[in-house]
């Protein structure tokens, strides 16, 4: 079943086109990777899907419903969660409070009902020892984990990951990938923007290549990586 369907989505800021007639769909339970050079419009695409910026043209359907003009808050409630490339925790709240707020408001349930769920997520993401620290005091790896944990607390059906492995050491990255794989295995659909290709390719079923706001290709990771066009544009390789 199709979970997310983008149809001819376009967006420009003045003369700069950041999304150009983007069409693709994601099935339930799928893991889709998005790659593309810096400035290709990858994060913008997430902003369009979560609704923090509105599309100029085209439509976005989630779970069969047209959400193109729906507020970010409503899209969160219907099951879209995201992490940010530059972690944006609520710095003055503790780690646990970050999850409580996301859990209670993101699922429209009482804090007591979501508290144990939030604690489990903290265990799963390796943050339980940090639970009562202010989020502003965390290291980069911990902030990235908190991004993931907080998105999970809203119980997303679709999880958007924005360069969550960037800036991490090899070992840190491996642990995070394991966590993401476990989340995906539970049935959460994942769209993952990433430059760390070996991490990405170990999880995703399909790869979408973006270039100057356009979809350059969509297919199996191996096919995409071997495509001459992709190698030239994205990897800058002469083939």
């Amino acid at each position: 079943m199709t979970l997310l369907q983008l149809d001819g989505i376009s967006k420009s800021f003045g003369a700069l086109t950041v999304a150009d007639d983007i069409t693709f769909s994601v099935s339930e339970g799928e893991a889709l990777g998005i790659i593309g050079p810096n400035g290709a419009g990858k994060s913008t695409l997430f902003n369009l899907i979560t609704g923090t910026i509105g599309a100029d043209k085209g439509s976005i359907r989630f779970l069969g419903e047209d959400v193109t003009r729906v507020s970010p808050m409503q899209r969160c409630l219907s099951g879209i969660g995201r992490t940010f490339q530059i972690p944006q925790p609520f710095e003055k709240l503790t780690v646990f409070e970050n999850l409580l707020v996301a859990g209670a408001f993101g699922q429209q349930r009482g804090e007591r009902e979501v508290a144990s769920e939030c604690a489990e997520i903290l265990v799963e993401t390796g943050l339980i020892a940090e639970a009562n620290k202010p989020a502003g005091s965390l290291s980069l790896l911990q902030r990235k984990r908190l991004e993931l944990a907080r998105a999970l607390a809203t119980k997303p059906k679709l999880l958007l990951l924005d360069e969550i492995a960037g800036g991490l050491t090899e070992g840190e990255c491996a642990v995070l990938v394991e966590t993401i794989r476990a989340v995906h295995r539970r049935g959460v659909t994942v769209i993952w923007i990433e430059h760390v290709l070996h991490a990405l390719n170990s999880v995703v079923d399909h790869l979408l290549v973006l270039h100057f706001g356009r979809v350059l290709g969509l297919g199996a990771p191996q096919d995409m990586m071997n495509s001459q066009e992709v190698r030239e544009i994205y990897l800058g390789m002469e083939v």
Partner: protein
């Protein structure tokens, strides 16, 4: 013994200033909104309590209970439909809009109630005192101070322990991300201002029963509130109580030396704190 009496009166007066300041502090703390109409809203609430009291012949405390939800609603609507539109990177629009609001409230009250000085009648409680050794403590000043403590404890519990308080802090931190977590920032802000208006109603109850007020009395209340917030340190509610007490004690000491010096002494104390401890006594660690 006279000095003890002065100190006690000053400390209790500080409770009133802390009540003025607490509402201002919440609105600033959560929305970074400097509400220049805060003093006028206190006077507006005092007139509301006066009207309910005289219209239905109720006890002012009961009138305040009736006025509080009405003020909450007024604050909610004011924030949702007007002040939310002024929030953004630029700090000027909220200042201009609340300044305009201040003028509108003052003139509206002048139109409705004339320029006469009013007072909310309280009967025998007005002059009631509790003798405590050499000092006589007024019942109303004592109640004011205790109410300030209850308000501060209540607000702190709400902000740091309750779900809505976590939403206040999360939204204050980052409204866009809060939206992605299922929070409606506009409504959270509206609720915060509604809450501040409930505190304003409590402040108005004690202002209106212990002193005369008229439609133009708002701005000077705003200044006391500002001074208390800044002496105490931005962002700390207990700080506003400390700030109120410093202001109150300075004023009563000034008044004992020369009655004309009451207000001046308070402002001088404020200036001294600003000169030597510009971040106030209890600045919040982070920020």
């Amino acid at each position: 013994m006279n000095i003890i009496d002065t100190l006690v009166q000053g400390i209790l007066l500080g409770g009133l200033y802390a009540l003025f300041a607490a509402g201002l502090s919440i609105v600033f703390g959560i929305m970074r909104l400097v509400n220049l109409a805060h003093g006028d809203l206190i006077i507006f609430a005092a007139f509301a309590i006066l009207t309910i009291t005289s219209m239905f012949g109720l006890n002012p405390f009961v009138s305040a209970l009736i006025a509080a939800p009405l003020m909450f609603a007024a604050g909610w609507l004011l924030q949702y439909f007007l002040l939310n539109r002024t929030l953004g990177k630029d700090i000027l629009p909220p200042l201009l809009v609340t300044f305009g609001l201040s003028i509108i409230i003052q003139n509206g009250l002048l139109e409705g109630f004339a320029a006469d000085s009013r007072r909310v009648p309280l009967g025998s409680l007005e002059a009631a005192t509790i003798p405590l050794g050499a000092v006589n403590i007024g019942v109303m000043p004592l109640l004011t101070f205790l109410s300030a403590i209850v308000v501060i404890v209540g607000l702190n519990t709400l902000i740091y322990r309750a779900p809505i308080g976590r939403a206040f802090r999360a939204t204050s931190d980052d409204p866009v991300t809060a939206g992605l977590m299922g929070i409606r920032p506009q409504r959270i802000f509206a609720t915060a201002t509604g809450l501040a208006m409930v505190v304003v109603t409590v402040a108005a109850l004690y202002l209106g029963t212990r002193a005369n007020f008229d439609p133009s009395a708002g701005p000077s209340r705003l200044i006391y509130a500002f001074e208390a917030v800044i002496i105490g340190g931005l962002g700390s509610l207990w700080g506003t109580l400390a700030g109120g007490v410093v202001l109150g004690v300075a004023q009563t000491i000034g008044a004992t030396i020369n009655p004309e010096w009451q207000i001046l002494a308070g402002h001088i104390a404020f200036l001294a704190v600003l000169a030597f401890k510009p971040r106030g006594f209890f600045p919040r660690a982070v920020d």
